[in-house]
């Protein structure tokens, strides 16, 4: 494999995959510890109706309205879950199930009934993204990395996900202590005067942000897998929060790289010329990592 082939066709999707994986894994650690792991699942389902609604209103698939639509849908979903849970006195798991299936169904129907033939927007795309298509056609080789005209042709998804990742990382560093305290002992955090409700809501919003940005590039399967699998695997390796977060980033990276390489080049080893879904392969790899951690992780047992 040489630079002339790798840089334009594989470098950017690989980078985007890695950044998306890390952006989801970071908040995923805290969702996991707060027993809200399935929030990521719910959010990634409701992103679809938000994007479809944004398309129907705006008429284009420009980024900003789509992000706004997805964020709006995430807020509607959280409000619906809370409303059903509180006013209907339905247990949270079922309230979540009612909400995300309904919103997803509405999104699918909206999509199927509206004329989206002219744009690249369909259910399959929403589920498993189009990571492979995020190529950098202006590049000719490694030299393009320092060539400004070629750099201008980088897919915009790369900058978007990078920006979101930087934001999430910065927020995480800034709010590390209150977030950690309120995650492990909400009562204690409240006695310290920390705004626990706001912290919880902030975490959900950050997760939604990560989900929306990653969804844009890689589809909802990676989003759900990355919210849960790398943090869960890291949780089975250590008892320390800092180590867990660091490990989860490492696992997310390994899953993204291994998955992408296997999806792109793996079939060739079996004599097939076609690549398989990179998003699906990345999710599969994260599952393999989790399975290994569950079988051999030093902190896998409940008692430790």
């Amino acid at each position: 494999m040489n630079g002339a082939e790798f840089v334009p066709l594989s470098l950017t999707p690989l980078l985007i995959g890695c950044l998306a994986a890390i952006a989801c894994a970071l908040p995923g650690n805290f969702l996991l510890l707060r027993r809200q792991a399935l929030i990521g699942d719910a959010i990634s389902h409701v992103v679809l109706p938000g994007i479809v609604a944004a398309f129907l209103i705006g008429g284009t698939i420009a980024t900003l309205p789509m992000l706004l639509g997805a964020a709006g849908a995430a807020i509607v979903a959280v409000a619906m879950i809370e409303g059903i849970r509180r006013y209907g006195r339905i247990e949270p798991g079922a309230a979540m199930g009612v909400t995300f299936t309904t919103l997803f169904a509405a999104g699918v129907l909206l999509l199927e009934m509206s004329d989206t033939s002219g744009v690249h927007l369909d259910v399959e795309h929403a589920l498993y993204g189009n990571l492979e298509s995020l190529v950098w056609l202006d590049a000719t080789g490694w030299g393009s990395l320092v060539d400004p005209t070629a750099l201008a042709g980088l897919p915009p998804e790369l900058f978007r996900i990078a920006l979101v990742l930087v934001m999430i990382a910065a927020l995480l560093v800034a709010f590390w202590r209150p977030l950690a305290i309120s995650t492990f002992d909400e009562g204690f955090a409240a006695t310290l005067g920390l705004p626990v409700t706001a912290i919880g809501l902030g975490l959900v919003i950050v997760s939604a942000l990560a989900a929306v940005a990653a969804f844009d590039a890689v589809g909802s399967i990676i989003v759900i897998a990355m919210f849960i699998c790398p943090p869960a695997a890291a949780r089975l390796m250590t008892n320390r929060l800092g180590t867990q977060v660091a490990l989860s980033v490492g696992f997310a990276l390994i899953a993204a790289i291994l998955g992408f390489v296997l999806a792109g080049y793996g079939p060739r080893w079996f004599g097939s010329i076609h690549a398989v879904s990179a998003a699906g392969m990345i999710a599969t790899m994260s599952g393999v990592i989790l399975a290994l951690a569950a079988l051999f992780g030093p902190a896998r047992a409940r008692s430790t």
Partner: protein, 401 residues
């Protein structure tokens, strides 16, 4: 057109599909209720997503062996195998490691689904599998269904329903009171296994019509909706079955009229409409009735407190109280009581005074616990007891004008 679909007049196949969807909805609603009571509704989400690799693998294996890869029974058997594997993974992860069940569910559903997507792309590149149509398993479809498939779905739905009827008693007992069920000689593990087996069965049967992403809705929404209508477990089970059946029936009928739309989302939206209606309108737990009850309670409190104030000759500042008293003809706009108001307020005052005595006497401890500022003491104590209290208070006095 929609009407003739609803009344089973659209030909044999469509009728069979609609019937199958109805039976499936009933079976899913009933089965889902047991899951709901065990607070494990979302386990079904992991099971349903875990069917995808099974469907794809079955297609690959059948094609390689030279059979038609789209053979529905074969695909369903494959889906059942990986669904069982996924369920086992959830159980194993949540019992053998420190991961909680929700994390296990999320991990299993995303990884199995991701692997299924990988296999789907493999199938797309296979020479024979160019258009396998397996994508219809994601969101469901009733268009172009074979007669044998429709029979399979209708039969499967009926079978699942029959199994639920047979095992309803142990499942209900272990859902509500595991300790009692164990003491009554019910094997909890086996009951759980039966329940999960039924969930798997419903999921597999529903794959073709509802699709694997949304089948979980049929297991969750009808029980949640039924919960508004009754507090009795058996009633909830029956109502959930009815609601699920209505959703499946009307959804499949509409889908027969609009073959270009995926069936799953239509059925789910019908189910949600039933849920929303239940949440709003159901007596007792519905929002509308709760709001009405709340208002009635609020009025009763305001009138009672207003009458107490009138009886003691205190001015009323709260505008709502004044308005309610005025509407009931108990006071004038300026807060002066009418004759009726004076009569009632002296009665209320006497009631309060009787309560006061009753609450200060340990002999009336049980009755005093029911004091809430609204209940009349006549409803709690016998006339003899009230007479006894009255002797301590003295004769009723006239309220000053």
């Amino acid at each position: 057109m929609f009407w003739s679909a609803l009344t089973f007049q659209l030909g044999y196949n469509a009728t069979l599909v609609t019937l199958g969807a109805t039976l499936l909805g009933v079976a899913a609603g009933v089965t889902g209720t047991f899951l709901y009571f065990r607070k494990r509704a979302l386990v079904s989400d992991a099971i349903s997503h875990a069917t995808l690799p099974g469907v794809a693998l079955a297609f690959i294996v059948m094609t390689m062996l030279g059979f038609d890869g789209r053979n529905l029974p074969g695909l369903l058997i494959g889906s059942a195998i990986t669904a069982a594997l996924g369920l086992y993974c959830v159980q194993w992860l949540s019992s053998r490691t420190r991961l909680t069940e929700d994390a296990a569910i999320g991990a299993v559903l995303s990884v199995f689904f991701g692997f299924g997507i990988v296999l789907l792309t493999v199938i797309q590149t296979m020479a024979s599998g160019g258009q396998a149509g397996l994508e219809s398993f994601l969101l469901g479809s009733t268009a172009g269904m074979l007669y044998s498939d429709a029979v399979l779905i209708a039969g499967g739905g009926a079978l699942a329903l029959a199994l639920v009827v047979i095992f309803r008693r142990p499942m209900l007992m272990s859902a509500f009171d595991p300790e009692f069920a164990r003491a009554s000689g019910i094997d909890l593990n086996r009951t759980d296994l039966i329940m999960m087996g039924l969930v798997m069965g419903v999921t597999v049967i529903g794959l073709k019509i509802v699709g694997l992403i949304l089948i979980v809705a049929l297991l969750i929404i009808p029980p949640a909706a039924a919960r508004f209508w009754s507090d009795r477990a058996t009633n909830v089970v029956i109502i959930a079955g009815i609601l699920g059946g209505i959703a499946g029936w009307s959804g499949a009928s509409l889908s027969a009229v609009a073959p270009n739309l995926p069936t799953g989302p239509i059925i789910v939206l019908f189910a949600f409409a039933l849920f929303a209606a239940s949440m709003l309108l159901a007596p007792g737990r519905g929002l509308l009735m709760s709001a009405l009850n709340h208002r009635r309670f609020q009025r009763a409190v305001h009138i009672r407190q207003g009458l107490v104030s009138l009886a003691q000759g205190q001015p009323i500042y709260e505008p709502l109280t004044l308005r309610l008293l005025q509407k009931a003809g108990l006071a004038r706009a300026d807060g002066v009581p009418t004759d009726d108001g004076r009569a009632q307020s002296s009665r209320v005052l006497r009631d309060e005074k009787r309560w006061e005595v009753a609450r200060s006497d340990p002999a009336f401890e049980m009755a005093a616990a029911r004091y809430d500022g609204l209940t009349q003491i006549e409803d709690v104590l016998t006339p003899d007891q009230i007479t006894l209290i009255d002797t301590r208070i003295g004769a009723p006095s006239v309220v000053a004008q």
